[in-house]
């Protein structure tokens, strides 16, 4: 975070290409050595409405969007009206002077015939987005070469598009250059830096799945989870993977379980409503002890709710999902980097303990772009924890659900050896056959729950952030990480001794360590995108500890750091 950070918004109606402009700009900035965070705010429709893509550019690490805006790229008149209040006085509002009608005088206005320049210089009015991109970089004092190189690469798969886009971008660049002195806001310039990745949270999840050797994904499209399926489908051929669009979420999860039983790593992804349909089969994975990774991209509201918005209200749902009791694991990454490595870990844990693992994401993580150091996979090993040939040779009789000390029974895949492999949804004996025997039932419940001991050791402890001397504590989880971390920085720089505890692995709950941190704090508050403060309720359940303050937001929009700062002053400092 830095005062010199630049905030750009690209706004318009669905279908106008805000994301294309945003991603190209973001990528050019990242290639130019800047750190970029970009978030998306979309309505649940295909065309029309009002959407925006917000980019923050810095020379330091940025993990969240911030306000006010310095440059507004308004692709229609409505966007000018909706967002001009958010633009600083020395900022710029770029719009199509021939298409968008703006009535008032405003010295921030930079009207430009975007479509006409695209048509005249590039040969097609669809290149108008490139005109806007060129203009933006001219205003910021960047060299056109930065853009030209990236545009050639971006459009390289559509070779006929390269020249027109570059010409259009140059037209916008030159037109804005003459008037660029109008802008006197932050100008983060290119600097030398290591090459960094620019990707969304869900791209990172999907990349993690491919790294983990996931070979099967079944899902039913549901916002905001669908981006995972689409990314995997686009890479499936190359990675010997099958991505199957199931007839419903119930089929999706049952397919994922079937593929896992047959011996390949598999996953499904959905949102809360779809997970509601999956709940029975979630229990099937548990009792049949079939490894399974489920991504729940949470969204606000029961039933349909707000499909394209963000919320963190499924934590206690996934913790208790399905009848009866069984061990499970819950992760909630807060950055693209965490999403990548935790997805890999989810597959590893699922295989090692033969349990279902849920990775909670949400729109805020899913669709936001993060700047990350290149992911390093050299140390990653894929362990399947299956019976080896040697172990098989020393077996007297294979028992799929053998009672063991660790609770983990020997797993083989059907057809691999000269014996049969069972999987059963009933309570079963060691061979996997139906039983109602009271003693065996008790033994099996206890066997499955013995896995908790091992699982508890696998869980990473919550991260400690901010001023470690502080006796005030903010506690959060998942995608609120960025806003919370920045709020703590702001408070620390204002001389308030606050630190943060941030969870990205929530279950099994690391009770002992959390208790120690909470005991040290004079006062603590939770930061959550939900109404009932679910992490606070979890800590009450596990530790009988109640927070002193609740910083909660359930508008379907992510936290801004400033909101957390204000709420903290009110709720905790009083």
């Amino acid at each position: 975070m830095m005062n010199g950070d630049l905030n750009i918004m690209v706004a318009g109606e669905a279908g106008q290409g805000m994301q294309t402009i945003g991603v190209i700009l973001g990528k050019v900035f990242v290639r130019g050595g800047c750190d970029v965070f970009a978030s998306q705010d979309n309505m649940s429709r295909i065309r029309g409405g009002h959407n925006f893509f917000q980019i923050r550019v810095s020379h330091e690490l940025v993990r969240t969007s911030s306000m006010p805006l310095h440059i507004l790229i308004a692709l229609n008149g409505e966007s000018v009206q909706l967002h001009r209040q958010e633009v600083v006085l020395n900022g710029v509002i770029l719009f199509d002077s021939e298409k968008s009608h703006v009535s008032e005088e405003d010295n921030r206005y930079l009207g430009m015939p975007l479509e006409r320049l695209a048509l005249e210089q590039g040969g097609n009015k669809i290149f108008s987005n490139s005109v806007a991109i060129g203009a933006t970089l001219a205003i910021l004092g960047w060299d056109f070469k930065n853009l030209e190189n990236y545009l050639s690469e971006y459009f390289s798969i559509k070779a006929d598009m390269v020249e027109g886009n570059i010409k259009a971008a140059r037209a916008g660049f030159e037109d804005a250059l003459i008037r660029s002195n109008r802008y006197s806001g932050p100008k983060p310039l290119p600097q030398e830096s290591r090459a960094k990745m620019f990707l969304t949270g869900h791209e990172a999840v999907a990349l993690g799945a491919l790294t983990a050797g996931c070979q099967f994904m079944s899902a039913y499209p549901m916002s905001p989870s669908t981006s995972i399926m689409m990314f995997l489908a686009g890479n499936a051929d190359e990675f010997d993977m099958v991505v199957e669009q199931a007839e419903d979420e119930i089929a999706a999860i049952n397919m994922a379980i079937g593929a896992s039983y047959a011996g390949i790593r598999s996953m499904t992804a959905t949102s809360g409503g779809g997970f509601s349909l999956m709940v029975e089969a979630f229990g099937l994975a548990a009792i049949s002890e079939t490894p399974l990774v489920v991504i729940d991209a949470q969204r606000p509201g029961p039933a349909t709710g707000l499909p394209t918005r963000t919320e963190q209200a499924d934590l206690l749902f996934v913790l208790h999902a399905s009848q009866d009791e069984f061990p499970r694991v819950i992760f909630a990454p807060g950055t693209a980097r965490e999403a990548f490595y935790q997805t890999i870990k989810a597959f590893e844990i699922a295989d090692k303990y033969q349990v279902p693992v849920v990775v909670l994401t949400d729109q805020c993580l899913a669709d936001s772009y993060f700047t990350e150091d290149r992911f390093n996979i050299s140390g990653i090993q894929i362990n399947r924890y299956l019976l080896s040939e040697g172990e098989v040779n020393s077996l007297k009789k294979y028992k799929r659900y053998q009672i063991t000390e660790s609770g983990i029974s020997p797993r083989a895949i059907p057809g691999a050896f000269g014996f049969e492999v069972a999987a059963d949804s009933h309570e079963h004996d060691e061979d996997g056959h139906i039983t109602e025997d009271a003693y065996i039932r008790k033994e099996m419940v206890e066997k499955r729950f013995r896995k908790m001991k091992g699982l508890t050791k696998e869980i990473s402890l919550p991260k400690q952030i901010g001023n470690q001397e502080g006796d005030l504590l903010l506690v959060g989880w998942g995608s609120t990480y960025g806003a919370m971390a920045e709020a703590i920085e702001i408070l620390n720089s204002d001389g308030i001794a606050v630190k943060g505890m941030y969870f990205n692995e929530l279950w099994p709950f690391p009770a002992k360590q959390v208790s120690e941190v909470l005991n040290e704090a004079n006062k603590w508050a939770v930061v959550e995108n939900n109404y009932t403060a679910q992490l606070a309720r979890l800590s009450q359940m596990e530790l009988q500890k109640k927070p002193d303050g609740h910083i909660l937001k359930y508008t379907g929009r992510p936290f801004m750091p400033e909101e957390i700062v204000d709420a903290f002053r009110r709720e905790v400092l009083g």
């Binding site: 990745m197 491919l210 999706a252 079937g258 593929a259 390949i264 992911f375 996979i377 059907p414 139906i434």
Partner: protein, 288 residues
């Protein structure tokens, strides 16, 4: 080493009613496996919940006994993961056509190479005799107290309408015929349905073994052309004093899921393919 019925036997106590048609279907399936020389550890039986769905426990094999109605998605993915393993799905009419009705339709669409054997007794046995999707109109139960007035689902007609590779109906009272149907279903490339009349001895006093014996005939003895889609549909609707069993329809031209999937059509089964981390490195680089 010759495979015999003994190779498929285990000592799991059975929970079926004495005289149930399930026993005959189990015997026919075992006989078919023996005749096809399949080994117990090289096949997978998949089932849901119900009396019929317990069958995989009574036959030595790899099995996945999952949730009520959800056998078909599980079977689908087992085939996708390992196309070396023959998969046979076993279920009752409530399991397969009621709770799993949507999956049945989509399994027909997907045309994955496995066999579905439905023990169709027109009744929910395990929950004490309620109507199933295939129950005849007028049948009175303790829930359908005025008799069923919903139209029954005819799975054979539905499967033919999807132009499935193999659509047959058997009768638990004719094990030899049923064995032949199961054998041909298993060797068929693509989705094969064997819907089996299996009288419920506990909850259906009307559709008894004798009731069926008096009515069923083998339509393949009657000069039926199994390539003729419309003739197959018409035959599938025949119900009354004469009820056809046998092979209604065969479509040798339909392409399976496995044959059409770019990933699956060539090379070893997915489960035998090696992970290549260099491909991941390349993909990671594409985000720089």
């Amino acid at each position: 080493m010759t495979i015999t019925i003994k190779d498929f036997e285990n000592d799991v106590p059975m929970a079926w009613c004495p005289g149930c048609g399930n026993f005959s279907i189990l015997n026919a399936l075992k006989q078919a496996l023996v005749e096809l020389e399949l080994k117990s550890h090289e096949i997978v039986l998949v089932s849901g919940i119900g009396q019929a769905a317990k069958l995989p426990h009574y036959l030595k094999c790899n099995f996945f006994n999952g949730l009520h109605g959800r056998s078909l998605p599980v079977a689908t993915a087992i085939r996708i993961a390992n196309s070396d393993l023959p998969v046979i799905v076993i279920g009752g009419d409530g399991d397969t056509y009621g709770e799993g009705g949507n999956h049945f339709m989509h399994a027909l669409r997907r045309n994955i190479n496995f066999t579905l054997i439905t023990h169709n007794n027109q009744v929910f046995g395990l929950t004490q005799g309620q109507a199933s999707p295939t129950t005849e109109r007028g049948f009175v139960t303790r829930v359908q107290t005025h008799g069923v007035f919903l139209n029954p689902l005819n799975p054979v007609t539905v499967a033919i309408a999807f132009e499935s590779p193999f659509v047959a109906r058997g009768f638990a009272g004719d094990i030899i015929h049923l064995t032949g149907l199961i054998k041909e279903a298993i060797t068929t490339k693509g989705f094969a349905l064997v819907d089996v009349f299996q009288p419920c001895v506990s909850y259906d006093r009307i559709h008894t073994f004798q009731w069926y014996k008096d009515r069923v005939y083998n339509l393949n003895d009657d000069g039926h052309d199994t390539q003729d889609l419309m003739a197959a549909i018409i035959k599938s609707k025949e119900w009354g004093n004469r009820i056809p069993t046998g092979i209604f329809y065969k479509n040798s031209e339909s392409l399976t899921f496995e044959q059409q999937s770019l990933v699956l059509k060539d090379g070893p089964p997915l489960v035998k393919r090696k992970h290549d981390p260099t491909k991941v490195e390349k993909l990671i680089d594409s985000f720089l």
